[in-house]
Amino acid sequence: MLNLETSIQGNKSYNNLTISEVEPVIKINLRSKKREFSAKIGKILSIIPPVESNMSSINDNYSLLWLSPDEWLLYSNNKISNYEEQINLEDKLFNQISKLNQGAVTNVTDHLVMINLNGNKIYDLLSKGCPFNFNDFMSKKGSVAQTIVNHTDVILHNINEGNLNLFVRRSFSKHLWSWINDSARFI
């Protein structure tokens, strides 16, 4: 097996704030306008794609984030233990969605890096470089935002107040990680 090397490989703690890369985590982009799509996903994953904008569905294994009326991001709640786990899920979804012309399944596992931010100051931290209004978002469990942090595109998934997962493209992740750590000093 090839050596796996994730982008950041780090976790940091500051006053009441922890920041950690959580990888490898399966991430699959799902797109469809088909009526049957939702039921199919429900059958495969036991989770229904949310129809409410900027919200998510979560079960024991997966989270499914609304990204647009025909786009969702699926990610595994836990780190995967082996490569096959990722491939099996991708294949299962691809064969039943893409191959049957029910939409598009694209593996984006290494496209995005997941960073977990935990602590009651995380919204203040993000607000240093993010114009998004967190006032309602923070107390809404499972809410999703696609915004920018320090000029970088990110997806934010609010697990619950004070605990969120941030997804950033791999190539931007080191730079954003540096910025987050720099800003965390002043929280």
Partner: protein
């Protein structure tokens, strides 16, 4: 600190003495003092020199409108900060400040000679004088530049830390005076998420130190009542109070910027590793502007001497800071508010010589109280002159005539060491107008106030910034307006009992008369820029009518105070002189920032490593460890070349490109954009996007495509591979990836919603390792032995799914170098390992990592274009001599219609050609112009060089260029004129190397 000049104050900490230095001399002040109040307590009034005439100038105000006390902070020339207002610096241990615009010292300034030359230096002097002789301009300029500018800029980068923060709120209240406090409390009480800002260290504005018995709220002194209210505000969790925070800009739709000072008041040693200033970017649903008003000066002869202060500032210095501005004070006023100052001074035992009031009389309660004390009031008088070079020592006054246009009677001389002046009040409407609001002119109080009918929505102005100057008006109207604004039925302020003196007699004279002709006097309007009332009149005589023109000609209002004190008088004088209504005259434009911002606050943390994004490929660490030099491509750091043994870039590139042609080269091509395309209409989608046909591309095959803009010009290019029946992967240029995806998604959503196509970017998911050269097949075979690499099974422009050590990969046989070449696409988390495996497998073939420079050279040898280098948005595929890629059969594709416009089918457009130099060692400069006739005037430019290299494989210089009618000029000899020589070149085919593509298929 002089004990005689200090009185008790509960607002500052008079138990903590703080040493500081001003102009090299050590003084002491108290914690809570500003630099200005501390200097005044040390009897220092002279703090600077004016800009033009170098006249001695003293502290004049107590706030951001200060025009004179502008100082240079810190003696370290590398870190010094210019143009800081002494009235706004809170005193701290370690403070060192110096006067500006004087040499050798503020007490003796050589530039003071300008004051004697002032009759020869009227407005427009520079414009008129330095016009002739024209050849002397550079000599004039040398001296003018030396005397221009205020203060010294620091010579080193600012070591302080600055920060940005976004905030969203229901209600933002700007200004923590009495009206701001009332509005904030009403908002907080209604459970709205509220932010209250004030630029001072404490809330309360001028009312917090108003202990005058003539002003009561619910039978309490205003100060006491307000203190309780402020204390009460702290209990609201939904109210955030930010002091030392100055609103800088009010943009449209309630987007505002505010600067918070976090460490400027701390001792120097306590500031380390802390953020100095934070710029708040606030989005508010509703905004309450409560920015108050500032007092106007009076315009009379020699009104600029040290010791002349605004009357309200004298009150603040005595009531708030516990500092007497003088021991023999005279007051010169046009309104009642100066009488509050008189009462404060009297209560603190300061001798008041007299009051000079331009009005005939005043029947208000407060004036009566002053009269009862027995202070002499000169009604209907004006100051006609002041004396004292570095500190006022006397005033001369005379009686005004009936109309107030001249003086009559005898001159009265009064000695004094301080003169308080009050010319009425100017509401601070700057933020209102910044947000798009329009003003109306209030003829009674002679001030511009917000026009409620022309106000942007979701904002109100309350208090004195709205033109309400009396305490009862301020409270009642603020309460009413805020209730209506926030939809509140009843408020705790509805039943307040308010008692205050009401002003009954009003009079205003913009330019006070003197016994001398105007030309013999110096009535200053703009104290910083030394513009006077006679400058304004001169500008009018010379034909300037608009206030914007007068402002620029005379420089009135162009100092760092932005005309806060001077603009109204300038307008008034123009209106009086021209017989215009002030309301019709309008105002100058109030632009942000309201008070100067530091560059640090504007930039925040976007400095150094955070100046711009940096994108890294998964193999970046390897490149770094192996000595790569990097090139910025978009935001990516791409290996540029890998120098060995101190090679120059040229040497490294020559070695790398030889190795790639002779044996094997390896390139990190991960940065190219990759878009996963799925859907039953994917082929049709590509037909519409690219100029060539895609329907017949077989599964497992790759095809190069050109993408055009709607104008028919080349926009992007790349290879797209058919992975399945309805599944493609498109590659784009590195820099164009994001734009291409956005454009295609836009087309799908708006132009072609009927297509069943989905796009997903996978640029970062896959890393791409490109291995090229005659031995590339052997290397890939070692890495993936199960993959049949024979030309029959795996020909050029095809792809295979495969795996390396159990990890899936996509291998494309495509080439940007003209060599036999493979691109391995693998998940990025495994890419570094695969790169290392490639290096290991290629060791025996001297596999050589190469960077973007070698890549550019190799593709130029083959005549392959780089979009953005050889194209510039003005070239069609036909211009690039790539007619073969434009389908004639397809119904449509983006840009098709434009390709057949009369302009795009012209034969004499610039077209891509090859160039070789007569001297094979002469490498052309990219961007160099190409001409045919060197003697023709003006010289006719036929085109320019787009790419140029020395090819080690051809052992000569090669270049690509765009030239007018270039495709018909093959063999033509032209010139590339350079600074010291003309280079002879010949137009050739664009392909220099392996025209038959033998190496691709080798």
């Amino acid at each position: 600190m002089s004990k005689e000049l200090r009185v008790n104050s509960k607002y500052i900490d008079q138990t903590t003495r703080i040493p500081f230095k001003f102009n090299g001399k050590t003084f002491y002040g108290f914690k809570g003092d500003t630099l200005a109040s501390a200097l005044l307590s040390n009897n220092v009034h002279l703090v600077g020199r004016s800009f033009k005439y170098h006249r001695p100038r003293g502290i004049m105000t107590c706030g951001s409108e200060e025009p004179n006390a502008i100082v240079q902070v810190s003696n370290d020339p590398s870190l010094t900060e210019p143009n800081v207002r002494a009235t706004e610096i809170e005193l701290y241990e370690g403070l060192e400040a110096n006067s500006q615009n004087c040499w050798p010292s503020v007490n003796f300034d050589i530039g003071g000679i300008n004051n004697f030359l002032s009759p020869f230096l009227p407005a427009g002097f520079y414009y008129k004088t330095f016009m002739w002789p024209a050849s002397f301009w550079e000599k004039y300029e040398f001296f003018i530049r030396h005397s221009a500018g205020l203060g010294k800029a620091p010579t080193k980068p600012d070591p302080n830390i600055y920060d940005h923060q976004y905030a969203h709120c229901d209600v933002l209240v700007i200004g923590g005076g009495i009206s701001g406090v009332i509005a904030a409390k009403l908002s907080a009480e209604k459970k709205l998420n509220t932010i209250l800002l004030d630029d001072k260290k404490d809330l309360g504005g001028v009312s917090i130190y108003n202990n005058d018995d003539n002003f009561k709220i619910n039978d309490q002194n205003v100060s006491k009542w307000l203190s309780n209210e402020i204390e009460n505000l702290k209990k609201y969790p939904n109210l955030s109070i930010k002091t030392r925070t100055s609103l800088a800009a009010f943009h449209g739709y309630n987007y505002l910027l505010a600067r918070e000072n976090l460490t400027d008041h701390l001792n120097v040693n306590d500031r380390k590793d802390k953020i100095r200033q934070r710029l708040w970017k606030i989005r508010a649903k509703k905004v309450v502007i409560a920015t108050g008003a500032i007092e106007r000066p009076l315009i009379f002869n020699n009104n600029d001497r040290p010791g002349i202060l605004l009357s309200s500032s004298i009150k603040k210095y005595i009531d708030y800071y516990g500092v007497k501005c003088g021991t023999k004070i005279s007051i010169f006023t046009s309104n009642d508010s100066a009488y509050e100052t008189v009462l404060s001074l009297y209560k603190n035992g300061v001798k008041i010589n007299s009051i000079i009031d331009i009005r005939d009389k005043s029947e208000s309660l407060i004036v009566k109280k002053v009269q009862d004390i027995g202070i002499k009031i000169y009604w209907k008088h004006t100051v006609v002159n002041t004396k004292g070079y570095k500190r006022i020592n006397s005033v001369e006054l005379m009686k005004l005539n009936e109309k107030g246009t001249g003086v009559i009677g005898d001159k009265i001389n009064e000695s004094c060491d301080c003169l308080g002046i009050s010319g009425g009040w100017t509401p601070m409407v700057h933020l209102f107008t910044q947000s798009g609001g329009k003003l109306e002119f209030n003829r009674i109080d002679n001030m511009f106030i917000p026009d409620e009918n022309k106000s942007p929505s979701e904002q109100i102005s309350v208090g004195s910034c709205n033109g309400d100057l009396e305490l009862d008006d301020i409270i009642k109207k603020t309460n009413l307006k805020t209730k209506e604004f926030l939809d509140i039925n009843t408020s705790i302020f509805d039943s307040l009992k308010i008692q205050n003196s009401k002003e009954k007699n009003k009079k205003n004279i913009w330019l006070l008369p003197s016994d001398k002709a105007l030309g013999k006097t110096k009535p200053f309007l703009d104290f910083q820029n030394d513009s006077t009332a006679k400058d304004v009149k001169l500008a009018l005589r010379e034909g300037f009518k608009s206030i914007e023109h007068v402002k620029r000609y005379t420089t009135t209002g162009m100092g760092t105070d932005q005309g806060k004190l001077s603009n109204m008088h300038a307008l008034g004088i123009i209106a009086d002189t021209t017989g215009t209504n002030m309301g019709e005259l309008g105002t100058t434009t109030f632009r942000p920032p309201f008070t100067p911002l530091t560059f640090g606050a504007i930039v925040g943390r976007n400095v150094g490593q955070f100046f711009d994004h940096t994108r890294y490929s998964a193999m970046h660490n390897w490149h770094e460890t192996n000595g790569a030099k990097f090139e910025n491509v978009g935001q990516w750091k791409r290996p540029w070349y890998y120098p060995k043994n101190k090679e120059s870039m040229h040497e490294a590139v020559q070695r790398e490109s030889k190795a790639a042609r002779d044996s094997a080269g390896i390139l990190d091509a991960s940065t190219l954009g990759k878009i996963d395309i799925q859907g039953t209409d994917a082929s049709e989608f590509l037909n519409r996007v690219y100029t060539n046909a895609w329907s017949k591309l077989q599964i497992g095959k790759c095809r190069y495509g050109l993408m055009l803009n709607e104008d028919g010009m080349v926009y992007d290019d790349g290879v797209t591979t058919r992975l399945g029946e309805n599944h493609y992967i498109m590659t784009t240029t590195t820099g164009g990836a994001a734009n291409v995806l956005n454009k295609l998604e836009d087309y799908l959503q708006t132009e072609w919603p009927e297509l069943d196509v989905y796009l997903t970017t996978v640029t970062d998911h896959f890393s791409t390792i490109s291995i090229c050269g005659p031995n590339s097949k052997k290397i890939v075979n070692k890495m993936i032995p199960d993959l049949d690499l024979s030309d029959q099974n795996f020909p050029h422009m095809s792809f295979k799914n495969s795996s390396i050590n159990g990890v899936r990969c996509r291998v494309m046989r495509i080439s940007f170098t003209g060599e036999h070449s493979y691109e391995i696409n693998i998940q990025s988390n495994y890419a570094k390992n695969v790169w290392e495996m490639s290096m290991e497998a290629g060791k025996e073939y001297n596999i050589t990592p190469y960077g973007t420079e070698t890549m550019h050279l190799l593709r130029a040898e083959k005549g392959f274009i780089i979009t953005g280098q050889d194209t510039d948005g003005t070239l069609t595929p036909v211009d690039l001599q790539m007619d073969w890629i434009v389908s004639k059969k397809k119904y449509d594709f983006i840009g098709k219609r434009s390709l057949y416009r009369s302009d795009t089918i012209r034969e004499d457009r610039k077209q891509l050609v090859g160039l070789i130099t007569e001297d094979p060692n002469e490498v052309l400069e990219e961007g160099a112009q190409i001409v045919e006739d060197l003697n023709k005037k003006p010289i006719e430019m036929l085109g320019h060089v787009t790419s140029s290299y020395f090819s080690p494989n051809l052992n000569k210089s090669i270049a690509l260029a765009v030239v007018v009618s270039g495709k018909n000029l093959r063999g033509k000899k032209l010139f590339v004129p350079m600074e010291n020589k003309n280079i002879n070149v010949t137009i050739t085919d664009t392909v220099f190397y392996d025209k038959e593509n033998k190496r691709l298929n080798a």
